[in-house]
Amino acid sequence: MPVPDYLRTPTFRLTALFSVLFACSTLILFLFIYWQTAIVETQRIDSALVRDTGVVAKGSRADVLRAVENRVTPDFLPITYAALFDADGRHIAGNIATLPAGVPIDGQAHPALINGEMNDRPTTPVDHVVIRRLANGEILAVARSIDSLDNLERVVTRALEAGVFPAVLLSLAAGAIVGRRVQRQVQIVHQTAERIMLGDFQERLPVRGTGDDFDRLADSVNRMLDEIVRLLDEVKSTGENIAHDLRTPLTRVRTRLERARTSAATIEELRDMIDRAIDGLDQTLRIITALLRISEIESGLRHAGFTTISLNTVVREIGDLYEPLAEERELRLVVLPGPTDYTTLGDRDLLSEALANLVDNAIKFTPPGGYVRLQLEGPDRAPVIRVVDSGPGIPPDERELVLKRFYRSDRSRHVDGSGLGLSLVAAIAKLHGFALAIGDNQPGCRVELHCGNNTPSRRSGRGA
């Protein structure tokens, strides 16, 4: 008969193993109880025998005879076996035929086999007997069968039969049921995975809402699938965007060169047109370079360049670099390089590049007369670099999108640039473990780089 699949599941095997362990441990427990009880019971019988014998022995000879005949002590304690022998061991009275062999006459309890002729239970297995010499030299033997232990054994065995075997069977059955359920769910996951591998990326694992391990697992897998789908979409749209963004300047270059060939009258004119064509090519090259840089940074292979750097210095230097540009655009560039010394583990070049991009953007999009503020502040261990401007800002629904490659707000289509600046910043932030947040400055844009998550933010002493 083939074994059903669910009996092969790990769950069932585990249950089976536990059932066996449970049965074994119960058996050991019962044996232990039996053993202990037997010891106690035997001791009880023994001490009773010793005590009874003592009571009988204390009486007169008539009392002893009476007790032996009636198997009742003067205190009316019942005795199973009793007999009186003369000093030489000859039977005088009682239901023990002969003195048990090998039992010392010392008044203590000893196991022995009583096979007296008047014994109404000829096959008594083991009895305990006390033999003691009376004051007149005669020998008194008092014995009791310990068949109450047999009863105990029977009770224990019956309890085992009635308790343990059903429990084992029940747990095996439960294991089989659970195993079967697990197996069915695994089957569902298999089938879903199969469908996803065949290209149905919208397929998701069922979540039954019970919040159990399977649900949590399904939830993780589903979220992973969501992320994969998102990345796939991004790759696809990035490809389209690259094609589009490269085509525009390349078409322009082509037009310029064509016009140069047909319409340039002098060498000077030709040169001028070719120069402009070269500008267009430079633009495409910049886009390609930026893309390569982003993938380079995103591949996360640049931790080698990490050293302890001063954020204050990075901010101050970038402020210095951009001040003339802001001035030229009639903007006020306010640089606030922080109330204390902030250090972080990072790549100075990359961080500077990220900041440069943010300031560059802010300057590009802020109309003349406004301001751009580059600010470093916050608690010692969680500094925040803020780039704030008085420009048009980014609408809330576009804030996520601007971090995507090539995304450009409709309003900014006329502004030069690769459209990759913020993606580059995002990539650099991610490499450093910094959080990048885009908010509202009311009016204007506020971009924040939270540098706190990054680990060793040791503070160096001032002027050190």
Binding site: I278, D279, T289, R293, G305, S352, A356, N357, D360, D416
Partner: protein, 252 residues
């Protein structure tokens, strides 16, 4: 002429002066097309270019001849570019080496410079960027003991940090001073935007906007006063150059 002496090693004189003996360049590059372009470019500029297409040939050529500068591709058949460089440096050959690479990784750059490279350029590059950098290597400013730099009428005192053009005192911001100092150490050389950002500001990225142009513009406004001959020239499509005005203009 500037008050600077040329590097002893490059004792052959100014490259663009065209005077004999000609400046010799060794190009070690396996890509035929790139090599042809580079050879063409430098030959046009009047250099004597030797080309080798693999690391082993390149190394033996570099050992057996004197060159003023070596342009070395990072990825080469036979022997890796960095190994060629390391071997040369072990042999105590101090010829300036510019490393070309398709890898833009900063780590790569650091490795290239550590192996003994003097400059590093990532492919693809504009021809002017390469020629400007090679010229910069050929005319690396000597570590002069002079504390005053002079180009034509322009005078920059490194100690007092005073700048004057002829008799006119020029007030400069610290960043402008740094920029001018760099340019005055390299008069008559094309300085690309990337070179300026790298050497003056120590940044290895190119800003999207005309950042460097704005800095140069500010400096130019102060250096070239009204009625004075322009000394800071823009080279279209490539960069900038500081040049002494022709002698008939003013007196230095």
């Amino acid at each position: 002429m500037s008050g600077l002496s040329t590097d002893k090693m490059d004792g052959n004189g100014w490259a663009d002066a065209g005077s004999a003996p000609r400046t010799r360049i060794l190009l070690i590059e396996d890509d035929q097309e790139t090599a042809a372009e580079i050879v063409g470019e430098f030959t046009d500029c009047g250099y004597d270019v030797t080309h080798r297409a693999n690391g082993i040939d390149g190394l033996s050529t570099a050992r057996d001849n004197e060159f003023n500068v070596i342009i070395l591709d990072r990825m080469l058949p036979g022997m890796d570019g960095l190994s060629v460089l390391e071997t040369l440096r072990r042999d105590n050959r101090r010829t300036p080496v510019l490393v070309l690479s398709a890898l833009g990784d900063v780590d790569e750059r650091v490795r290239g410079l550590k192996a003994g490279g003097d400059d590093y350029l990532t492919k693809p590059f504009a021809a002017i960027e390469l020629t400007a950098r090679v010229e910069a290597l050929l005319r690396r400013p000597a570590t002069t003991r002079e504390t005053v730099l002079r180009v034509g009428p322009l005078e920059l005192d490194l100690i007092s940090r005073a700048v004057r053009r002829a008799t006119r005192k020029v007030e400069l911001l610290p960043r402008e001073f740094k920029l001018l100092e760099y340019m005055m150490r390299r008069p008559g050389q094309v300085l690309t935007r990337a070179m300026l950002l790298e050497d003056v500001w120590n940044y290895r990225f190119l800003a999207e906007t005309n950042l460097v142009d704005v800095h140069i513009g500010k400096l130019r406004k102060k250096i070239d006063g009204p009625g004075e001959t322009s000394m800071i020239h823009s080279i279209r499509g490539s960069g900038f150059m500081l040049m002494a005005p022709p002698p008939q203009g003013e007196k230095g």
